[in-house]
Symmetry: C2
Subunit: 475 residues, 2 copies
């Protein structure tokens, strides 16, 4: 082994390679529209092109970038293509990407206030900004007993809500002694699978999860919720948690928060509201009606990494009573003790979620909010909703297609009138074309196509081209 002093990339090399990566990304932004949206590789194809053994000697950075282009790019589904209409979006933007870069460059740890005061204080400020910007209940602000924190995903947020609810309901007995199989949780049949996953993780158990039926608009039916809670209580169960969804994954169904909150209040249940994708719409006052009743919730989350131009991961999670959450998750070993924590004057965000370490994610969110301003965010969210509503109008006016549900915002569920097999074949043909990417769900027992407008650069022409392609493929 030659006796080299250092294998590190020097700041000078970092400047050079960093510019190359920035340019590569800018080029990617310029050409992504022309790439097949859904990757066409077969299982194992990418892996087969990667050497089976780790490199003994370091390689030039340029060679890695060549492999990104040659090996990885064909193996990617392009979530940042304006022709991406699948799932829910996971959009991004220039300021967010650069915020992520800066966060990586600083390499700061925000687990405790003391390990990175600016990480903590910027996060608190930005989370309070969002309460104001989106018209959320003031109780979620950090200057009262509540507060917000950035989580990696709505899955983790739901888990934290479940845990805090579990402990509130049992006087911290499960933390102390483990569960007894009596706690029961509630959501609708349309609720995201992450809530059931959280129920499992928290040791509640699938059979103690009640999936309440929904109405024709895929919204939870409060009377059935109430009945389920009372039935469980009569049977000796301990109801403790309800998750309501603002914008279900299948169809953007909107659970009625007001009536659900009333039941939770009467029955003493923790109400968590999941607005993962649709929550972003609240930047526009005219779309806030879906959040009516949110003031009755104990916790709420939405994902700027879905529709608010902030690259994954960035889930914003608020609680009305941070003390319960913190008491549920806090453990303070000697090696983390410090004066600031002992003073009680600071927030240590490690006690607000599962991981201990945390990177400086508030930075990208701050960059997004400052780059766009309230005005810019509103403009683009309104545009996306307008485009989806235009598309829904075209479906409504067509003879061959029908809407599967009325689209409240930016997700349109529709199908060809030709039946399930026809729709399945249509979806496959469309996605194979590479010109767009849609996914499906099943609504009312029928195979249904979903078109969600939320990618940052999706414009009128992309939605028009999608509609043209859909009609052509159906013929």
């Amino acid at each position: 082994m030659p006796d080299r002093k250092s294998y590190h990339m020097t700041p000078g090399e970092f400047r050079r390679h960093g510019r190359a990566v920035v340019d590569w990304i800018a080029d990617y932004q310029e050409r992504v529209e022309a790439l097949p949206v859904l990757s066409r590789v077969k299982p194992g194809e990418v892996r087969a092109q990667l050497p089976p053994h780790p490199p003994e000697h370091g390689e030039p950075f340029e060679r890695m970038m060549e492999d990104v282009e040659r090996v990885l790019l064909p193996g990617l589904t392009h979530w940042q293509s304006p022709n991406f209409f699948a799932y829910f979006p996971a959009n991004a933007s220039g300021p967010a990407i650069l915020g992520e870069l800066l966060s990586a460059g600083l390499g700061a740890q925000g687990m405790l206030w003391a390990t990175g005061p600016a990480c903590t204080e910027l996060e608190t400020r930005v989370m309070d900004w969002l309460v104001e910007l989106m018209g959320l209940p003031a109780k979620f602000r950090s200057d009262g007993p509540g507060g917000g924190v950035i989580q990696d995903s709505a899955s983790s947020a739901a888990l934290c809500a479940l845990l805090a609810a579990r402990e509130r309901a049992t006087g911290f007995a499960v933390n102390a002694r483990g569960g007894d199989g009596r706690l029961t949780a509630y959501a609708s049949t349309q609720t995201h699978s992450s809530v059931l996953k959280g129920v499992r993780v928290a040791g509640i158990g699938d059979r103690n999860f009640r999936a309440v039926e929904t109405d024709d608009a895929c919204a939870l039916r409060p009377n059935l919720l109430r009945e389920a809670v009372r039935r469980d209580r009569a049977e000796g169960k301990v109801p403790f948690f309800v998750c309501a969804t603002v914008g279900t994954t299948s169809s953007n169904g909107m659970d009625p928060l007001g009536p659900i909150a009333a039941i939770c209040r009467e029955e003493g249940l923790w109400l968590h509201v999941d607005g993962a994708m649709a929550g972003t719409a609240a930047v526009c006052p005219e779309f806030r009606r879906f959040l009516d009743g949110l003031d009755g919730a104990d916790s709420y989350c939405f994902n700027p990494h879905k529709w608010m131009f902030t690259n994954f991961d960035c889930d914003c999670f608020w609680v009305a009573d941070r003390a319960v959450l913190i008491r549920t998750l806090s453990i303070l070993p000697e090696y983390l003790k410090n004066k600031a924590t002992e003073s009680g004057a600071v927030i240590d965000y490690r006690d607000w979620h599962i991981p201990l370490g945390r990177r400086f994610r508030a930075l990208k969110l701050w960059f997004v909010l400052r780059h766009y301003g309230v005005q810019g965010l509103r403009h683009h969210v309104r545009e996306h909703v307008r485009l989806a509503q235009d598309f829904a109008g075209w479906v409504r006016a067509s003879e061959d297609f029908e809407l599967a549900a009325d689209p409240p915002l930016n997700l349109v569920c529709f199908r060809h009138r030709g039946g399930d097999d026809c729709n399945r074949a249509l979806l496959e043909r469309l996605n194979d074309s590479g010109r767009l990417f849609l996914t499906h769900t099943v609504l009312g027992g029928k195979f249904t196509l979903r078109l969600c407008v939320g990618q940052t650069h999706t414009e009128e022409r992309h939605v028009e081209a999608a509609w043209t392609a859909i009609r052509a493929a159906a013929r």
Copy 2:
């Protein structure tokens, strides 16, 4: 509101601002050594400089970068300073930072194979590379029944291990029906607090966690573990999980894996091994003795984001039997169904951890491995160990200081002979100086200073300067 067509950052603007951020980071790398390591701000000081309301209108990118410099920088503790010797390191490197940038720019989602085949297949390949590179048991490779996945942190890895163990022990009964308060978990008194946190989260309960006493080297005493397990069994408890640590946080204590694994095998317990920081040492064959016995483990993790030049977050987690983990965490709703998943020929990493969404973290790890090569990684890890051992030698040779434990690798626990108050004052004076940052622990009832050598750019001169500063401050 003026009718602007777009508020997005154009690719051209991205090039310009991206270069500015790259240059800012390169400048930061060049000057970080001169900055006070531990931030000097008081609670609330950063927040007070941030406007109380979100910006109505977008702002120029330059202004955001000015605020990074003026408002945030003084509020940061510099984890990337070569004078950072606190906690465990969370180091980084040029190739890692650029991998993170590229990941953000691509904005790909790796939750399913189908949503980003290259994300999944690169991750699988890189995790297999690490098994070879670090001499880990072959059963952790993905071409058998095992496999590896990137988690955000060792906390989440421990939680996933606990969950899979919980379900294996109960025939998936807790997933189905919730817990009954009988499961018991074991680790040492020196185990990281994240394991107890996981015990809480998983609904096991603090009182069902046994913190087994350690020997003089802070290593778990196997005979006490065996006794604890048998005592619990005799009392009707159901022992199911042991966490052994390779490099405890306080003092880098090394639990004896062989004897612990033997007990786990006899008693049918899941053995999880946490090598969060020290695990990186296994890139050098001469440091692998601490992993003797790892072939008896069911799961293992270490954090490239601590000592392997990969910015947070990047925890590598392996299991010997992926089927148990997947069955524990998998739920497949209609909207995630796809042909590749149904074929069984692919890995869907969402079933290997708590969150659903996941970013392309394998990219930065791949960049690090290719940039350094095995040779480069070994060189720098050896250097860090050598520097720590040199420092330990100086402490040993001094009249005023003593070692609190023999340092197995790169963490030195030491104290002034003057007693707790003296050491507390010494630590405060050193950290207030801004010239270095150390943290403390308590060992054998005594306040103890910790010096961990692991920041990417820490060289001999920094460790020498630390020793000089420590002696000067003590006088």
